[in-house]
Symmetry: C2
Subunit: 124 residues, 2 copies
């Protein structure tokens, strides 16, 4: 069994600038992790359906969805698990939902580093 394909899941928006921020956020992961992709829950493409369909066509049999969300709300507790269940049936594949990135302590450390930089840049 190969490593699962990583899908970075963002909410999605009709605002192109919003999606561009997520594409930039994903860039270091896409460069480091083979076959990793970004997908959007709604309002933007590629959707989860598009990315899973393409992955399966390329021979992938399991996926891990890493939500680019700081915390789990209704979307991650209800909507996304329901979408995953449908996608698993449709494409006869296995999809694991990881915790949102904000639940990992590394994010809190990165936020502290961002704030420290912000303070250095503020004219005293």
């Amino acid at each position: 069994m190969n490593s699962p394909r990583i899908i970075l899941l963002a909410h999605g928006s009709s605002d192109k600038r919003w999606c561009e921020t997520f594409e930039q956020l994903a860039e270091p992961t896409l460069q480091s992790v083979e076959n990793a992709r970004v997908a959007y829950m709604e309002l933007a493409e590629p959707s989860m359906d598009t990315v899973i369909k393409e992955g399966v066509a390329e021979g992938a049999s399991h996926f891990t969805i890493v939500p680019l969300f700081l915390a789990a709300g209704r979307h991650l507790r209800k909507d996304v698990p329901a979408m995953i269940e449908e996608l698993e049936k449709t494409y006869d594949t296995s999809i694991q939902l990881a915790p949102p990135i904000g639940e990992n302590p590394l994010l809190g450390q990165a936020i502290r580093d961002v704030v420290m930089l912000q303070l250095e840049q503020t004219p005293a």
Copy 2:
């Protein structure tokens, strides 16, 4: 002029677990930056109004709001600037709005590290 007081701004939610995730995300910053506070835009306390009011009462004269948002949508482009304008008038203080944390490259690197850990934990 002293350093600005740092306010970590989260959206807020009536779901207590959602707010707890943000309190954990803020913890490293609160431990490293004197007088830093968390505030919520809506649906949870403390609000920005509460935190600014308390800061001013303690003698603070300027604040920097660091949004715990991955990208800027309507809230950060419109709602929060309007709230800040009101708060500056009400409390005769100066409030700077920093970019959302997701626009800092450190976040993209942290996301890559989270995904790497996720892959290590996935049974092969």
